[in-house]
């Protein structure tokens, strides 16, 4: 039997930390890829807001990356996936069988369909107060006006206050100013193993990191073990020179 965790107790501890003037220790979940975790100072921060942008045409990969991130930071807790109707129409609806194949338990994923980005944000700020959730994925289409700096701050605050991680999945949008803790631009990467091809391999560019540097890695999600790793479990290949991609997404640079 697990010991009961009381939200009140947590709040008390937080308050006492604040009184002592100490920075709150934010839990971090390592992604699994050493190079990335080093830059992230140990891993992805829980109770923060993370943004995942899809490169144009790479929406399914960005979805896979966001799902894997959320599943990883949720650490066995449930995940709420808020999706705008139009996004499902344009890029396909989230498939439970697909989640299952990625090693994500569909029984622990709830989905809320909303018509507008405004509804998505309102639902998210309510859901982020529910400490029983591990992560909330907010899938938005395009660049809705309501998603401004204030809305982004509100999400970050709500996530921080209750320790629920927000993953903002942005499809068909270009990165803009926000208060997110990290920002990723994701595209698919070709399979390296011609024999066992088709595993979820992502080319992930960390273009913003509030607590450290940026970088770009090719990561494979291990469907069996539930963490990220170098593709095929091998050494990370050098990031290939891709002038077209670099031109499309300024601000991308290779990891040191």
């Amino acid at each position: 039997m697990k010991p009961p965790t009381s939200p009140n107790k947590l709040a008390q501890l937080r308050a006492s930390l604040a009184k002592a003037g100490l920075p709150e220790i934010q839990a971090r979940v390592p992604l699994g890829l050493r190079e990335a975790d080093e830059v992230l100072k140990g891993g992805l921060a829980c109770g923060a807001c993370h943004e995942v942008f899809a490169s144009a045409g790479h929406e399914a990969s960005a979805t896979g990356f966001a799902a894997s991130l959320a599943w990883r930071v949720a650490r066995g807790k449930r995940v709420l996936w808020i999706v705008q109707d139009f996004s499902a129409l344009e890029f396909g609806a989230l498939a439970a069988t697909g989640l299952l194949e990625l090693g994500i338990d569909p029984a622990r994923v709830l989905m809320l369909r909303v018509a507008h980005a405004e509804d998505a944000l309102r639902a998210a700020s309510d859901a982020l107060t529910c400490t029983a959730l591990g992560a909330v994925v907010i899938e938005l289409m395009g660049a809705p006006k309501v998603l401004d700096l204030t809305a982004s701050r509100r999400l970050t605050l709500a996530a921080g206050e209750h320790g629920v991680t927000a993953v903002l999945l942005r499809l068909g949008a270009a990165p803009d100013a926000s208060s997110a803790s990290t920002r990723w631009v994701v595209r698919a990467e070709t399979s390296s193993d011609p024999e066992n091809w088709g595993r979820p391999v992502f080319d992930c560019a960390l273009v913003r990191n509030r607590h450290g540097g940026t970088g770009q890695w090719v990561m494979e999600w291990s469907c069996d073990n539930g963490h990220f790793q170098a593709p095929g479990g091998a050494v990370v290949p050098e990031a290939r020179d891709r002038p077209a991609a670099a031109a499309l997404e300024p601000g991308r640079r290779s990891a040191a």
Binding site: A88, L100, E101, S191
Partner: protein, 465 residues
């Protein structure tokens, strides 16, 4: 002629008369086309209004309502006072109304037709209706006529007859009717809407209109409902608030829950979400003079002392969240995944309302890929497979050109076919078998394609991560 006002009746025009005859009798007659559907709707609204007196309101034909006020009269200062209040209330809304109160439905009906405003005390129904003509019983014309021919003009005369005589001449049904009219047998009232398991209400001398007052009322009602539920160890799966406006309009707002609830704070929160999301917001007008909260679908709900099992605690918290989100966005938008017992890709899982997910047959989730293998099913699935043109193989290589969504792609790898036959035993029309392929293009994007074996056309059905 379907209906007449007082003046037209005074001129001798009768219901059922052809319009031409009526016009001949009274050329100035104003005629409006009858609209039974609208009449019924209006009667429904009047019935809604009447629900402030009792939840047992039944439609009685197309022009009458039957209210079972058993045990409710003392709340309104006695029988006569209650009847007067109902009649005055309807008259104030501009209706011409007749009404009576009696121990039996039939006696009340007969009295209302001739002696509007009277109350027959229980046991005195026979005397009260004895002097009324037999046609007030609203029998079929043949029977009424037969009564007349037999010289039985008043109800009392008919009732005074030997019952065997009546039965042999008019049938058992009539005797039964007379018995019910005079309280020898009971007729149940079948209410328009099912009676809720629990209800609490609050009436206001001064109608309330502000949001705060409405919220405070709901909290108070939820608290008294919660107490009643707790006494019997139950919780409600559906709650309905009825707002009775001073001008007669009634608005009902219901919320559903995924688990039995009785905590007033939870109930208030659900209604707050629901009220905030209404497309057609709650309009208090001149205020609500009665608010009722009813609880339905009560289920056993045991008090939980402490949560030692944190996952069970989490599950409950999440059900509360799902209830809130469902109240705001609709229960068909708050979804949970359940596995299907079929290999047809679009039916292998279903997104069902999270509040009712437990009602669906649960099949264990079974992944298709084997350990260490790549995923075999797409993460994003198109509701409608999209047509794709497989153009041609690139000469001298294994790659294929594909055209989809107005763009050309080069498929570098493909694996298949995985043949999936449509389940003919489930569908009326047989659907063609599909050959599925996983494919990866030059940029690493992975698609899920199929070829219709009948038409040999290609479709994109989904995308893999």
């Amino acid at each position: 002629m379907a209906g007449l006002d007082r003046k037209a009746t005074a001129f001798g025009i009768k219901v059922g008369q052809p319009l031409a005859n009526a016009r001949a009798m009274l050329p100035a007659l104003k005629v409006v086309a009858a609209n039974p559907a609208a009449d019924l709707k209006l009667l429904g609204r009047i019935a809604d209004w009447c629900e402030r007196f009792t939840p047992l309101v039944a439609l009685d034909g197309a022009r009458a309502l039957l209210l079972d006020v058993t045990g409710a009269t003392h709340l309104f200062g006695g029988e006569q006072a209650m009847l007067d209040r109902i009649l005055r209330g309807l008259e104030a809304q501009g209706f011409a109304v007749r009404g009576a109160m009696a121990g039996t439905a039939l006696a009340a009906q007969a009295l209302s037709r001739r002696r509007s405003g009277t109350v027959a005390q229980p046991g005195t129904e026979a005397e009260a209706v004895a002097s009324l003509p037999v046609d007030t019983l609203n029998l079929d014309p043949v029977t009424t006529h037969a009564f007349r021919r037999a010289g039985l003009k008043r109800i009392g005369q008919a009732y005074g007859r030997d019952r065997r005589e009546l039965t042999s001449r008019f049938g058992a049904r009539l005797v039964y009717m007379l018995d019910t009219a005079f309280a020898r047998a009971e007729t149940p009232v079948s209410p328009r809407r099912p009676l809720p398991d629990y209800r609490a209400e609050r009436a206001f001398a001064e109608p309330i209109a502000t949001e705060d007052a409405i919220r405070a009322t709901l909290v108070a009602l939820a608290a008294s409902l919660g107490e009643a539920l707790e006494k019997r160890g139950e919780g409600a799966r559906r709650l309905e608030a009825s707002f009775f406006r001073a001008d007669g309009i009634v608005r009902r707002i219901a919320v559903e829950t995924g688990q039995p609830v009785r905590d007033p704070a939870v109930v208030e929160r659900l209604f707050r979400e629901k009220l905030a999301s209404l497309v057609d917001p709650l309009d208090p007008g001149f205020g609500f003079d009665l608010v009722r909260l009813a609880a339905d679908r009560a289920e056993r709900a045991d008090a939980v002392a402490a949560d030692f099992d944190s996952d069970a605690h989490d599950a409950r918290e999440i059900r509360f969240l799902a209830d809130r989100l469902a109240a705001r966005f609709g229960s068909d938008r708050m979804l949970a995944f359940v596995a299907g017992d079929t290999h047809i890709p679009e039916a292998a899982f279903a997104a069902v309302p999270a509040q009712h997910a437990a009602d669906f047959a649960s099949v264990p989730w079974e992944r298709i890929r084997r350990p260490n293998e790549a995923p075999r099913r797409p993460l994003r699935l198109f509701a409608k497979p999209e047509h794709a043109g497989i153009l041609r193989a690139v000469p001298g290589s294994n790659t294929l050109h594909m055209r989809w969504r107005k763009a050309q792609r080069v498929l570098v790898r493909a694996e298949g076919p995985e043949r999936i036959a449509m389940e003919w035993w489930r569908h009326q029309e047989t659907q063609p078998t599909r050959d599925y392929w996983r494919a990866e293009d030059g940029e690493g994007r992975r698609l899920w394609l199929y070829r219709d074996t009948e038409t040999a056309q290609w479709f994109v059905h989904g995308a893999l991560a």
